[in-house]
Symmetry: C2
């Protein structure tokens, strides 16, 4: 009892700790993201260079321009990744959930800022330490390339959205792609959480909060979506959303 209390206090003062095998086994990101390519046995090698970190909502843990010391793997919660202009304009380049890998950088510096949307748990890997693990398990390095390639495909899709789609098309497109994180391919009434604010949505879709709100209201009026509350949306007519997204409606 007393020991446990002591450890808890220690954990609060210094929450940087490697995950135990049990924590890895039970981790919600165990079979997505980086860890999925390793067996339980091999995972302990990776776990050894990992540090578990907890972040409160709003905490910035990667800052644009800072030296890129760490990679991150999200175990819990959601993260917004963005770039800013001097006058405060902001473009969110992605929302990252459980299992997402984060921290690729060119030229040794992060090119983006990353901020916790809600309470976040993640595993942090120092670049130097993880390099040796990569050499030991080439599958990890290959997975890294897969992740980067996948991000690139998504980024290209987002450029199409930002450059060429109407407000309604952007909102429909976002709902569909966000839903994929929760219910791959599942059809009809799919209910998904929207942990981010309307402001986040606006900064992701290249719109204003008002236009996002109006577009969501229109989809609601047309009975394509339904809101239990502002942060939980149900997709009622996925097919018609897809038509709108593709510019065919």
């Amino acid at each position: 009892m007393q020991n446990a209390a002591k450890m808890d206090r220690a954990a609060v003062k210094n929450p940087v700790r490697s995950p135990t095998p049990e924590q890895c086994r039970d981790c919600s990101a165990r079979h997505i993201g980086m860890c999925d390519v390793l067996s339980d046995a091999d995972l302990s090698v990776l776990a050894h260079v990992a540090q578990r970190i907890s972040l409160a909502a709003g905490k910035i843990f990667i800052e644009e321009g800072d030296p890129a010391r760490y990679f991150y793997d999200i175990n819990q919660g959601d993260v917004r990744v963005y770039k800013s202009l001097a006058d405060g304009r902001r473009q969110i380049t992605g929302f990252m959930g459980v299992g997402h890998f984060l921290g690729l950088a060119a030229g040794g510096k992060y090119a983006f800022t990353a901020e916790a949307i809600n309470d976040v748990h993640l595993c942090r890997f120092e670049r130097g330490a993880i390099k040796e693990v990569f050499d030991e398990f080439p599958a990890l390095q290959r997975r890294l390339l897969d992740v980067a390639t996948h991000e690139l495909v998504i980024a290209q899709e987002q450029m199409l959205l930002l450059g060429r789609k109407s407000a309604l098309e952007r909102v429909a497109g976002f709902l569909l792609s966000w839903a994929e994180n929760y219910a791959q391919g599942k059809s009809e009434p799919v209910t998904i959480p929207l942990p981010m604010s309307r402001m986040d949505l606006a900064d992701y879709l290249g719109l204003t909060i008002e236009t996002v709100s109006r577009s969501l209201s229109q989809l609601k009026r047309d009975k394509l979506i339904f809101f239990a509350d502002a942060h939980a949306v149900t997709l009622l007519k996925k097919h018609r959303l897809q038509l709108i997204d593709a510019g065919e409606a």
Copy 2:
């Protein structure tokens, strides 16, 4: 003589040929792109699985949705990479010049179309064949990750441009980034070619040709740039272009 003539004829009928060591040595992409990480000796291994290809302006050589059989390395000319919507709207996600590497794909399918802007020469690598070379030279695999990471950084910058910048800021930003391909960091009167059409520019910047033209005209009126002709621009006041690009003017 007769043999040479015969080979030339064969080359015309079947222009798919591995490059000779001399061709590699003299290639304008020798010290950029993939090949740069290999010594002349090692390069012959890569050259062995390469096929030199020539494309006329306008030729599409990667089509969105097709099985991703090849990687490409551009030796000469410029390429536009884009995605399209059903109704013909198009978003160019990048212009690729000499030394650029092309062909990363997730899920075995290309997510974009690639088309020659002018006459293009490139080296083509079959995925199966190159995989063995990658195993032999891990530096190549690492370079691939560097390329993907760099592309990702550029894509994020482009999302900021498309989502949050004004027309004038987009055009200024494009001129600066395009100039980097020709004169890294060089200052003041830098003259650069614009091989792409105004339509290409519009589809890259998420604008219309008219708005691109008006923005260029404004920069010209303000004496920040100068046109020898429509496809050769001189940057006169790089610093002021940078201010515009950053949203500080």
